[in-house]
C-alpha cells in the first residue's frame, strides 16, 4: 500500500516533458516534489500564475504571490501572471496538458464527484468543474477506499457530480487504473497489494487482463 507521497511519486511518472500541469489541492500538490529534474514542466495555478516554483524561504513570502490553495509561493524564470478569465481560457481552451486532482468518488465511465456531500457544509467547487469539463487528460489521485473502508471506485457515483465521463486515469494507494469503455482497467498494483485485494476494494467493474505488474516507484 502506498502513502500519500507514494501516490504522488507514482503520478509524477505521468508528467511528461513539455507538459503544462494543473495540480489540485491535497495529494496532487505533492506531485511537484517528485517530477524528474531532467524534463521541462510548468505548473499552472488557476488563481493566475504559470511557472510556479517552490515555497519561499522564511521571510521572503509575498502576500501578493500565492497559489490556488492560498499558500505563499515563488515563481521560476519564464513565469507569468494573468487574470482569472485568462487563467480559465488556458484551462477551457485545452492548453493545459494534464490536470491532477483528488476525488471522493469516481465511476466506471469516468464521472467524478469531489465537491459536495449532501447534509454537510459545502465549500464549493472552486475551479474543479472547469478543470474536469475541459482537460484533455485528467488523473485522479485518491485513496482507494474512504475512511469507512468503502470503495471510492463505483459503478455510479452517489455524491453530486463535479463532471461527467472525464477521468482518464486513477492512481490510488492500491493501484493504477485506466477508465476504458467497460470499466476500471487495472494497470498496476501497489507494492505488496494483490489483485484479489484490489478486486475486493473496487465496487465498480474491475477489468483484469493478463499479468498485472507491481508499480515501479
Amino acid at each position: 500500500m502506498l502513502d500519500k507521497n507514494g501516490i504522488a511519486k507514482r503520478i509524477a511518472k505521468e508528467v511528461k516533458d513539455g507538459y503544462y500541469v494543473n495540480l489540485g489541492i491535497g495529494i496532487p500538490t505533492l506531485v511537484a516534489n517528485f517530477v524528474q529534474d531532467d524534463i521541462n514542466v510548468e505548473f499552472q495555478s488557476e488563481n493566475g500564475v504559470l511557472g510556479m516554483g517552490p515555497f519561499p524561504f522564511e521571510g521572503e513570502e509575498d502576500a501578493d504571490i500565492i497559489n490556488a490553495g492560498k499558500q505563499t509561493i515563488t515563481t521560476l524564470p519564464g513565469a507569468s501572471f494573468f487574470d482569472s478569465a485568462t487563467s480559465f481560457a488556458m484551462i477551457r481552451g485545452k492548453h493545459i496538458d494534464l490536470t491532477i486532482l483528488g476525488a471522493m468518488e469516481v465511476s466506471e465511465n469516468g464521472d467524478i464527484a469531489n465537491w459536495k456531500i449532501p447534509g454537510k457544509m459545502v465549500k464549493g467547487m472552486g475551479g474543479a468543474m472547469d478543470l474536469v469539463a475541459s482537460a484533455e487528460h485528467i488523473i485522479v489521485a485518491m485513496m482507494h477506499t474512504n475512511k469507512a473502508g468503502e470503495s471510492k471506485l463505483l459503478k455510479q457515483c452517489t455524491l453530486p457530480l463535479t463532471g461527467v465521463a472525464c477521468v482518464k486515469k486513477i492512481v490510488t494507494n492500491m493501484a493504477v487504473l485506466e477508465i476504458v469503455d467497460k470499466g476500471f482497467k487495472l494497470l498496476e498494483r501497489a507494492p505488496g497489494v494483490s489483485v484479489e485485494a484490489i478486486k475486493k476494494a473496487t465496487s465498480g467493474k474491475l477489468i483484469v487482463e493478463g499479468f498485472i505488474p507491481e508499480m515501479e516507484i
Partner: protein
C-alpha cells in the same frame, strides 16, 4: 485625459445602497479591496448580494460584512475557511450560489464586454446546470450562463493613475481586471496613485475607461491565509 480620482473611500462609495449587487475582486484574501470593505462595514448597508470568488475569513475580508449580517446572498466558487459563513448558510440566513470559478470569471468578463451570455462546458451534467439551457457544439455539451448584472464593482490594484488606468501585482490580479467595467460603477483602490502619464501606456492591465472612480488606498494589511515556507538548506 478624463480624471477619475476621488479624494477618499467615502467619496468612492457614494451611492451604495441597501439591496445592491456588488462585485468584489480578490482570491482568498489576496488582492481584496480592503478599504472598500471597511467602508461598507462603516456604512452599514445591508441586504447585499456579493459576487466574489471567496467569502473571506471570520475576521477579515468579506467575513467582516458577514459578521454584521450585511450580506443577503453570496455568489462564489469556494467559501471555506469561515465559521460565521458556515453558520449563516446552514441556518438559512444566508443565500449562497456556488458557481464554477471559470464561469464566475467569464460572467464578469461577459458583463464587461457586452456579451449577454456564453456557453461553457463547466458544470454540464452536474447540479450547476439544472434549469439552464444546454447545447451540443461539435459533439461536446455546453451550459448557457448569463452575464452578471451588478451595481458596483470594487477592485484593488497595485498602481493606478488619475485616468483610472490600473496595474496589478502578482496573483493579486485574479478577478480584479475581469470585474472592471462589469458593474454600473467600478471603484478602484490602489496602493500607489500616480499622475496621468506616469505609467507606460503599453503596460496598462486595465484601461481607465473601465473605471469610474479611483482613490489612494491606505493601511493595507494584506493578510496571508496560508503562510507556507521552506527551510533554508
Amino acid at each position: 485625459m478624463i480624471p477619475k480620482t476621488v479624494n477618499n473611500v467615502q467619496e468612492a462609495l457614494k451611492g451604495v445602497k441597501d439591496g445592491m449587487t456588488l462585485m468584489l475582486g480578490g482570491f482568498g484574501l489576496c488582492g481584496i479591496p480592503e478599504n472598500a470593505i471597511a467602508e461598507l462595514v462603516r456604512l452599514g448597508v445591508s441586504d447585499l448580494c456579493c459576487i466574489s470568488n471567496n467569502a473571506g475569513v471570520d475576521d477579515f475580508g468579506l467575513g467582516l460584512l458577514l459578521q454584521k449580517r450585511q450580506i443577503r446572498k453570496m455568489i462564489s466558487s469556494y467559501v471555506g475557511e469561515n465559521d460565521e459563513f458556515e453558520r449563516q448558510m446552514l441556518s438559512g440566513e444566508l443565500e449562497v450560489e456556488l458557481t464554477p470559478q471559470g464561469t464566475l470569471a467569464e460572467k464578469c468578463r461577459a458583463a464587461q464586454a457586452g456579451f449577454p451570455a456564453f456557453y461553457t462546458p463547466a458544470g454540464f451534467g452536474t447540479e450547476v446546470a439544472i434549469g439552464k439551457e444546454t447545447r451540443d457544439f461539435n459533439g461536446k455539451m455546453y451550459v448557457l450562463e448569463a452575464a452578471f448584472k451588478a451595481d458596483f464593482s470594487f477592485v484593488k490594484a497595485w498602481k493606478g493613475d488619475e485616468a483610472g488606468n490600473l496595474i496589478f501585482k502578482g496573483t493579486a490580479r485574479n478577478f480584479n481586471p475581469c470585474m472592471c467595467g462589469a458593474a454600473t460603477i467600478t471603484v478602484a483602490e490602489v496602493e500607489e496613485l500616480v499622475p496621468a502619464g506616469s505609467l507606460d501606456p503599453n503596460g496598462i492591465h486595465i484601461p481607465g475607461i473601465f473605471v469610474q472612480r479611483i482613490f489612494q488606498g491606505k493601511d493595507y494589511e494584506k493578510r496571508i491565509e496560508q503562510l507556507t515556507t521552506r527551510s533554508r538548506i
